[in-house]
Amino acid sequence: MILLGELSLWVALLMATWSGLVSFAGGALRRPDLVASGERATYAAFGFVVLSSLGLWTALLQSDFSLSYVAQYTSLNLPTVYKFSAFWGGQAGSMLFWCLILSMYGAIAVFANRSQHRVLMPWVTGTMATTLVFFLVTTAIASNPFERLPFPPPDGRGLNPQLQIPAMAIHPPNLYLGYVATTVPFAFAIAALITRRLDAEWLGAVRKWALVSWFFLTIGIVLGMWWAYVELGWGGVWMWDPVENASLLPWLTGTAFLHSIMIQEKRGMLRKWNVTLVVSTFLLAILGTFITRSGVIQSVHSFAQSGVGNWFLVALVIAFVVSAVLVSTRLKDLETPAQLESMLSREAAFLYNNLVLIGIAFSVLWGTLFPILSEWVRGEKITVGAPFFNAVNIPLALLLMALTGVGPLIAWRRASPKNLQRQFTMPLFGGLATGAVLLALGMRDVYALVCYTIGGFVITTISQEFVKGLGARRTIHGESWPVAALRLIGRNRRRYGGYIVHFGVVVMFAALAGAAFKKEFDVQLKAGESFTATDPWGDEWKFTSQGVSYFEALNRKVLAVALRPEKNGVVQPLIRSEKRQHVDAFDRNTFEPSTEVGILETAGQDVYMVFAGAPPGSDDPVAEIRVTFNPLMVWVWWGGIIMALGGLIVMWPQADRITRESGYAAEMKPQAVGAAS
């Protein structure tokens, strides 16, 4: 199976190459037979990449240490689930995983469009296949997971302990599903540019893919935040590391696209802008991968420096040049007679929303690349860390959140002063009342105060929209509240799903603003000793050490300390933090000791405990412990869940599906192509 997997990688490369060549040729020569052959080769490439992946999975699960990758990322005593997830735990495996998702998306895109968009599809298939060829070549030549060792070791090194966590088993796949999904809209954009069919047709085809990308990127990013929080032990969720920034960039431009696409759908405007956003999102996904894998920028979790980065740089340059040439030679086709009835319109609000999203994307990219620029210009290495990004991006993020509330309140085309007054009264009152109450309660942190005021404004906006919609349904159809709510959302999924996403954004921002009030305590406790602390809500806590314990688990030795918390005299569940030393099957240490944090999660705050260690020399060791009160932290995760739920509602298929066209052969007739071009 392993040999079959290795061979399949090369056959998949052949299939993808064939698919690319004949699809482009079929599109250029208007030959349906070549187009059909290219599409079949796409399916075949997917099949062979699946076989190749099964080969690697077999090697990982069987602990075949003759493969360098298996020896490097697994060990005999590694739990099976992590042997499975080690597939994407290292450079070479993750490259193959990327190929797997890309070929799967290619096959789905071809199948879903087997009888529609027939003029575009040869170019879509060709672009997808060409992208797949790049990834397969890079995998096979520069980073091959099937590379063999001359002398297989008796046991492998094991998976990094910080990757041995359920979130890490699903965080990378979600990010990859999101990153790779940007390829399909990009392929449609290239196809539309080549064929000059730049009306709304290609947009209709890519909207769902853009949503798929956004959905998985959202889940992936939130899971990454959760992983950082529970695994890295520094008590935060986002440190503005280049790799984190790399995942945020395509999310921001993708979000901008999902808003601006509505203007093209409704008004036929913004063709150039939408093409630019689609192409930029794909290029940023590749740029992010380049940053992650090249080591060009120092990052806490970059893949080991390797030649793969150069491959991505070349791919990035080629994709950029091709896109730029196509866009610049199609400017006339991208022009539309743009008109706007009023500056006070939802179109204008969406465009300002786009501007802020792109502004944030630019500032994140700028900050990420600024150390390189500085070194070029001044010859001085600098660090651009969290203080910089927070200083620049928090004001922009607050502005974005405010626009999230403004957009839905303004009518399409033109809003009258009376309409604006009616729409804005309640939300403004909601926002200002929130701010006033918090100020009266003693909140003095400016950013937090502004954040909650804007949050109150946006939530009142969303509530107002729901109340109006529900009221209308109940009046017209006489429905109960639950039925009216289900039908309101079900029959206007884009609109109300979007509001749910906005609600999730507010929940997350409000929770992140809670970091302004976090409190930390560093203590040293022997068994039975206690310390007291006051949390940000003013409650009194007493923590009593239950002592240090030692035990051995499957692939690790564990030193643990537990605290018995009491809140205002009421006993709470135990909190336990561990220091782990992972070992291989021969009891040899595999990595540096790692720390498992202990978290007591409540709606108001997390009590976050980190066991630093216990100095040796006593049977009753002193445990060094850090306890942090992190206000509202659980709402970061709920915000993410709500956003994902909203995204799911938006992209759920509507009942009134588009009637399929009559087959590609009919549309591929020369006169049809001629008419199109």
């Binding site: 500032s363 290495k381 910089f388």
Partner: protein, 189 residues
């Protein structure tokens, strides 16, 4: 290995930080530590509270390669030997009566500007801070101008379309006039 041995072993590792293979994470640079010392001021008394010291350490980067600041690294990655050493230097400088700015300058003199978690707001670094806002402001100005042009165009078209035919001429003439006012073929986005 029993508990006492493990405690001893893990503590040893924390102090010694033996070289270990890493996956996906930047390798720790053990040799990056450089002592940062200044002569204590005469009659020195600490100028900073513990909170101010921690805030200062949030502005200084641990040079082990972890990308964290000294405070976060030393209270998070307990295997890092650098952040405790850098912390001791900070404490030594505070005890020597030095201010936060003097301590930042001393660290910058030894490690270079990369030891600061955010670049100093001087010279070329201003570009880093200002550029996002300049770009946003430029974009906002450009977008506003564009939107004004679009609204003017819409107003002109609306005015043409409401003219009575008798006063304006034939349908053909009106269509040409509408196209001219719309400026079809011009830049639109």
């Amino acid at each position: 290995m029993r508990r006492r041995e493990f405690i001893a072993a893990s503590s040893f590792m924390m102090m010694q930080a033996v070289e270990q293979p890493v996956q996906n994470f930047a390798p720790m640079d053990q040799g990056a530590y450089r002592p940062v010392k200044l002569t204590a001021k005469a009659g020195a008394t600490p100028q900073l509270t513990i909170e101010a010291r921690d805030a200062l350490e949030h502005r200084l980067k641990c040079m082990c390669g972890c990308s964290l600041d000294i405070y976060t690294c030393r209270t998070t990655d307990f295997t890092c030997p650098l952040s405790p050493a850098m912390h001791r230097d900070v404490v030594g400088l505070i005890d020597g009566g030095h201010t936060a700015d003097e301590i930042l300058d001393a660290f910058t003199a030894v490690y270079g500007e990369q030891v600061l978690m955010a670049p100093k707001k001087t010279g070329f670094n201003w570009a880093g801070y200002v550029m996002p806002f300049v770009a946003l402001a430029t974009g906002a100005a450009g977008l506003t101008l564009l939107l004004k042009r679009w609204t003017a165009r819409a107003a002109a078209v609306a005015a043409v379309s409401t003219l009575p035919v008798a006063a304006g001429g034939t349908d053909d003439e009106l269509a040409r006039l509408a196209a001219a006012v719309r400026d079809d073929g011009g830049e639109d986005e």
